[in-house]
Every structure is written in C-alpha cells, then in structure tokens.
C-alpha cells in the first residue's frame, strides 16, 4: 500500500515507540499535521519552538527514551537551535523533525527557507536532509538509532514539503529489521585487559576518588558505581550531570565538585592519588585550573566517547565503553582484588576519615534569617515538602547551583538541568516535558526571575494541557550569578543586572490561567509550598522574594585551582581561604 511521506513518518514514529511529541506547526509541515490527528501520537503545542525542543529534552532526560519535537521551516527551525544545542552538549537523545521548502525550491531563498542542516550541523550528533520519499523510512530509523545508541545525542531530520506529500510503498516488516549503518558502530564493551588493570589500580590506590558524570545516569550504571564505592571504600564526588547517580545522603558521597562544589569534594579530588572518572569529561567548570587539577592522581577514565579520553586530562588507564557494561565487568574484578589486598583497607580507612573530617569541618553553609527569605532555605523547604522525591528542573544561575548543593536527590534522572550549555529559559519547558514523561512524579521547576522570563510563555502550554508543574521563582531582582561575579571580580560594578522592573509574577501567571502565589517572609515559605502541592490540575508558580545579594559558596575563582575556593564566612568569621 502506498503512503504519503507524512503518513510514513508518523507510522515510523509509532513503530519507534514514540508516544508524545512537542511541536509547533507551520506551512512546511502542514502535510504532517494534517495526518497527525489520525494517529495515537499525543502532540503538545508549545508556545514557542524553543519550548518544544526543551520539552522533548526534559522528557528524554526523565524517561531515558528519545524525545521528539516538530517545527516548521525557517524561523521554526532556527527557534529549535538553542534547545537542540542544550540537549546535544548534555548527551540527551532527541530527534527533531523540521519542515523545509519543497526540494525544487531549495537554495532559492524561498519564503521561510533556511539551510537547516547547515545551521544545525555543529549542534547535532548527526542530521539528514531527506530528498526522496523513498529514503524517508530508512532515514527515520537511522535517526532514532543514532540518537539513542553510543553516546546519546541529537539527530535532526529535515523534510522538504514535497517529500511529505509524495506517495511510496511502506513495508512495516522491513522497518522492524535491525538498523545497519556501516560507518557507525559504537564500542560498548570495555577492553578486558584494561578493566583488569583498572581493578588493580583501584585496589592498590591509597586515596582514590570516584568522579561521577552524567554518563553514569544515562547508561543506568548508578547502582553498580555506588556498589563499587562501598566494596572498595571509595569516596564519591559527582558533576552537576551526575548528581542523581548517588543517593544524596550516602555516607561516602561528598556532593558536587568543581566551581561551586563542596569543600570536601574539591579537596578530595585535589589530594587523591587515583581518580576513577566515569561518564565524565573533565569540563572546565569541574577541573578549575587544569594544570593544577589533582596533580598527584593517576586517572582511570571510562567513557563511551573515545574523543573525551585524553581531551583535557591524560588518562593512565583509558576504557572506552558503555559505563554500565564496563561496570558489570569491573565490579567483580574489583571485588576480587579487594579481597586479595586486605592491607590496603587500613590506609583506605584513613583516607575516608580525612575526607569525612573535611565534610564536617567545612560543610555547605548559609546564614539563616527569620527576616528575609534565604534562597537556600527555599530549596531546603522544597526538599522537605516533596520528601526529596520530586523531579527537579532548573534554569541557569545561582538557583541552579543552590539546587545542586541543597536538594539531596534520591534516585537517578531526578535532576533536569542544562549543564553544558547553561541555557536560561530551559526550566519551565523542560518541566513540562518531564511531567509528561513522568506524570506519577511531582515536577518542580526551580528558576530565577531572570531565567523565568526567558520562556514564561510556556506556562500557557501547561495550562492548555492541564500539566500541573510547580515553579519556584527564586526572585532576587537581579541576574544573580552575573551580579555575583561583578561583585567579586569587578569591584561591585553592577552593570545591566538589575531586574527591578519586572512583571507581577502572581498576576501574570493568573492571567495565563495558572495559579500564582507569593512568599516574602521565611515564615510563609512552608505554607505556600503546601498550598502549591495541593494543586494538581494546572501549573502553579510561586514568587519567592529572597535576599537580594546572597552569593553562592564555595566558589573557585575562574582560572583558580580547585583548592583555592572561596568559602562562606561561617558564622560571621573572617572569610577563610582553603589551603
């Protein structure tokens, strides 16, 4: 039977297991949207294509499935760009479909024409321009395969309008056969010899530390990594992307490392003699000054992307492979080695005690107040009210770092945040995607007054589909992180960071059909959160008016080494510099 390109696309999506699509129609995708109502696919009309891309991203991050978004040609496609770049740099599987002008008009500067594959090439794992409807089914199949295998990423498929209209044969059975891409065969299993070497190094190190990245979460290796830490007495530090791999209250867990990492995590990595990096990429926000990063440590680097190994830091024992598959081999080897090397236990014990003493001596800290709301206090209260079990999405800035520090996560994929690109405006649409993907969970977007204003139109989307997300605006009337940098490194020359003029968020959200709440005093915080938790049929936004000039500490100054972090002035004591 002959089907149109549009019908083939939609049928292929069903066969890929797609259930939800986030998108925005337009001229070039009319044929697809014409057929869409006749499929079981549920489409969410966002209010901006950027929202569609972020929602697909949020959906993918919480479910582990591929997120899908649609946009039309020209501005539709360019509006996706920030969203796709956000997903790609955080290795999130997303497949985007864009319409384009008919094949015979390509290159003519036609109405709403841009070179979509050209524009998105640097921000996708791969992209396709389908020029013949006969190639469509195979291309869709390849797109999903590439997005979800190896190091996950973004694939964009550009569909000229005539390709979606023309008819061709579609064979479902053929579609279901495995994908063959002769030039793409990701390495998944680690090299057995390297795994043995790694196990030996782990068992014989005196001061090892696990450096856990987002790859541990996305490959499902969290339990195995935690188990290894327990078996071999290894403290754990995580990146922003890896935070949910370890239960926040685990006794071996030191929290986040890097620029706003904990004292214990940063000192432990600096003083370690062995770093076991798993699914992490030695990003500049993690390492600080690279030449002074963990100067005495050997490095075991486990990553599915061989290009990450040795990119920033030399790896003594590189292992290319999927974190989970590698850990399945590595854990038993480590168990064997540890059983043989009892004497190292004593040394390891000393190390653990040292690390714990750092944790106790220099904990995360802020000065409580009963007069003004402290932003960290809001995060702690959200944790309490949600019993630590909400899926948290964030925007970017101070509030994002406070979430990373103060919300103690319980299970993997619980945090949805733009780590690599640092995209303001991510939180609200990502929360919509997350709630669509996990309707059983409370989804809380923790945002700032600056970030919220970047995609606040998506509250309307949440109202439209009765998606009961919660949004906490940590409102300090500033672009807080920029202000913090100007304060510390630019002599308080606050340039273009004042957000004194802003909408009344409560009225604004009410006007959009959601519920708006506000808290201005610490005593109101809990009550307003409980009120928000009771609403389950529409979005609710809480405007928390917080201490205007609170800074995020610890902080490693840009260009500084990790141990040179600026600490909070514990109990009004003089600012301590770590040594």
């Amino acid at each position: 039977m002959k089907l149109s390109g549009a019908e083939i696309l939609l049928r292929a999506l069903e066969l890929e297991g797609v259930e939800k699509i986030f998108g925005y129609p337009g001229g070039a995708v009319l044929d697809i949207y014409d057929r869409l109502p006749f499929t079981p696919l549920k489409h969410y009309l966002t209010r901006h294509e950027q929202g569609a891309a972020h929602a697909a991203d949020g959906y993918a991050r919480v479910t582990g499935k591929v997120g899908v978004c649609f946009a039309t040609s020209g501005p539709g496609a360019t509006n996706l760009v920030t969203g796709l770049a956000t997903a790609q740099i955080d290795s999130v599987p997303v497949v985007a479909f864009t319409g384009n002008v008919p094949t015979f008009m390509i290159g003519n500067d036609a109405f709403q024409e841009v070179d979509t594959v050209g524009i998105t090439r640097p921000i996708t794992k791969h992209n396709f321009l389908v020029k013949d409807v006969k190639d469509l089914a195979d291309t869709v199949k390849k797109a999903f395969h590439i997005a979800r295998t190896g190091r996950p990423g973004v694939v964009l498929v550009d569909l000229p309008k005539d390709v979606t209209r023309e008819l061709t044969d579609f064979f479902e059975e053929e579609y279901k056969t495995p994908v063959q891409i002769r030039s793409y065969k990701p390495v998944l299993k680690g090299h057995p010899g390297q795994i043995k070497r790694a196990a030996k190094a782990i068992a014989s190190a005196e001061r090892p530390i696990l450096y856990i990245g987002g790859g541990v979460v996305s490959s499902g290796a969290s339990d195995l990594v935690v188990k290894m830490a327990e078996v071999a007495n290894i403290p754990m530090a995580a990146t922003l992307m890896g935070l949910t791999a370890v239960p926040g209250n685990h006794p071996f867990f030191l929290g986040m490392l890097g620029m706003h990492g904990t004292y214990a995590a940063n000192m432990a990595i600096q003083e370690s003699d062995l770093i076991i990096a798993i699914g992490a990429r030695f990003d500049d926000r993690v390492t600080g000054k690279l030449s002074e990063f963990a100067p005495n440590a050997k490095v075991i680097h486990i990553d599915i992307d061989s290009a990450e190994i040795g990119k920033n830091r030399h790896a003594d024992i590189p292992i290319v492979g999927d974190a989970k598959l590698v850990m399945e081999e590595l854990l038993p080897e480590v168990e064997k080695q540890v059983a043989k090397n009892r004497e190292f236990y004593a040394a390891r014990e000393k190390w653990i005690l040292k690390v714990r003493s750092w944790k106790e001596r220099y904990p995360l800290w802020y000065e409580p107040s009963d007069r003004v709301i402290k932003p960290q206090f809001v995060i702690e209260k959200i944790w309490e009210v949600t019993k630590g079990e909400a899926i948290i999405t964030t925007d970017v800035g101070q509030h994002q770092m406070w979430v990373a520090q103060y919300y103690k996560f319980r299970f993997p994929r619980q945090l949805v945040t733009s780590g690599g690109l640092g995209t303001m405006g991510f939180g609200v649409p990502a929360a919509i995607g997350a709630k669509v993907g996990r309707p059983d969970k409370t989804v809380f977007c923790i945002s700032g007054d600056g970030s919220f204003q970047m995609n606040m139109q998506e509250i309307v989307t949440a109202v439209h589909y009765n998606i009961p997300i919660k949004v906490a605006i940590i409102n300090n009337g500033f672009l807080g992180m920029v202000r913090q940098w100007q304060g510390i490194f630019y002599q308080k020359n606050y340039s273009q960071v004042h957000l004194d003029v802003q909408p009344d968020f409560v009225k604004l959200v009410e006007a959009m059909g959601g519920v708006g709440l506000r808290a201005t005093k610490p005593a109101e915080v809990e009550a307003v959160l409980k009120e928000a938790m009771a609403i389950d049929d529409r979005p609710v936004v809480i405007d928390f008016i917080v201490d205007r000039e609170e800074d995020v500490f610890p902080m490693v100054p840009p260009g500084g080494a990790l141990h040179e972090m600026i600490l909070p002035n514990y109990g009004k004591k003089k600012e301590k510099k770590a040594v």
Partner: protein
C-alpha cells in the same frame, strides 16, 4: 599535561560515505574546534559510495590525536588514519605557468623539467606551463628553483597518500 611542542605536519587519511553532508561535517570540525588545516583532497575510491579524504594538518601530538578522534566520531566516517609515520606513497600534483621571455629562461626551465621528471603541457610565446607530480619536498624544491624566473600562476592539489603494500598492511579493517 605533557604536550610535545613539535608542530609538525601530519598527513591524515579518512574514508567516508560519499554524502554531501559528510565533507561539510569534516570541514566544520576544523573550524569549530580551531584546528589548522593545510590542504585537503577529496576523491572517490574503488567503491564509488566511499570517498577518500587526504588532509594535511599541523599541530602537536595532542592536537593531532584529538583531530583523529573527533573525525572518528562523525557518523559518516569509516576509518581515520594518521599516515605520517607509516611507509607510504605520498603525491601531489602541481601545475605552474612560468615566464620564459628569453631563450636562456626557456633552456633553464627545460633543464629543470628534465631533472624533476616534469612535463611541459602548454606553451605560449612567453610562458611554459609545467605539470609535476611528486612528493611534497620535490614539488617545493622545483618551485624554489623556478621562482626567480617568475611564476605567473600556479595550482597545487594538496597531498594524496596510501600506505605501501610492502609494509604488509592496507588501510586497516578495524575502525579503532
């Protein structure tokens, strides 16, 4: 990190799907990651669906290693090999138009053409156009010698290379 600072020229051979997007991705990789590329040559192989790209890039060992790894990440890329230290055949084609207004110059050019095994492929009243195939050093040396006579116009293809069969290996079946 211990980075060796010798910025030598590396010759990298890439087998890639003969697709329009593939070449674009490779070229963009160089600009987006700030790598320097000296020459680039593309042509299809014995299999018309596969192209061979030969590129010459300058950089320290770490940079070249990164270039090779980043090239391997590209979905359409089959194989990438740094041929710099391999026994290889390595050729470049030069076409150059030289001023020969005087009989002495004509004679000198013909002498050099003979020594280098080049060929005169086009002649006008006051120019000779010469074609030369050789490795990079030969081409450079030839150009150096004819420079004083005055070069009107020239074109170089950039290098193409292949591992020697004697060396007991072909391009290599494994995509590392």
């Amino acid at each position: 990190m211990d980075r060796k600072c010798d910025h030598r020229k590396h010759i990298i051979s890439v087998l890639v799907e003969n697709q329009p997007g593939a070449l674009a991705r490779i070229i963009e990789l160089f600009s987006s990651r700030g790598y320097n590329i000296e020459s680039l040559n593309v042509g299809h192989t014995e299999d018309p669906t596969i192209s061979r790209i030969t590129m010459v890039a300058k950089g320290d060992e770490h940079t070249i290693e990164q270039i090779v790894k980043q090239l391997r990440r590209i979905i359409d890329v089959f194989k990438v090999r740094d041929l710099t230290d391999k026994k290889k055949l390595d050729r470049e084609l030069l076409i150059v138009r030289i001023n020969v207004e005087t009989p002495e110059k004509k004679e000198e050019v013909m002498r050099l053409v003979e020594i280098f095994g080049a060929q005169v492929v086009d002649v006008s009243k006051d120019t000779y156009t010469v074609e030369l195939t050789g490795d990079e050093e030969q081409v450079d040396a030839f150009l150096e010698l004819i420079k004083p006579m005055g070069i009107r116009e020239m074109a170089r293809t950039g290098r193409v290379a292949m591992v020697r069969a004697l060396h007991g290996e072909t391009f290599g079946e494994q995509k590392e």
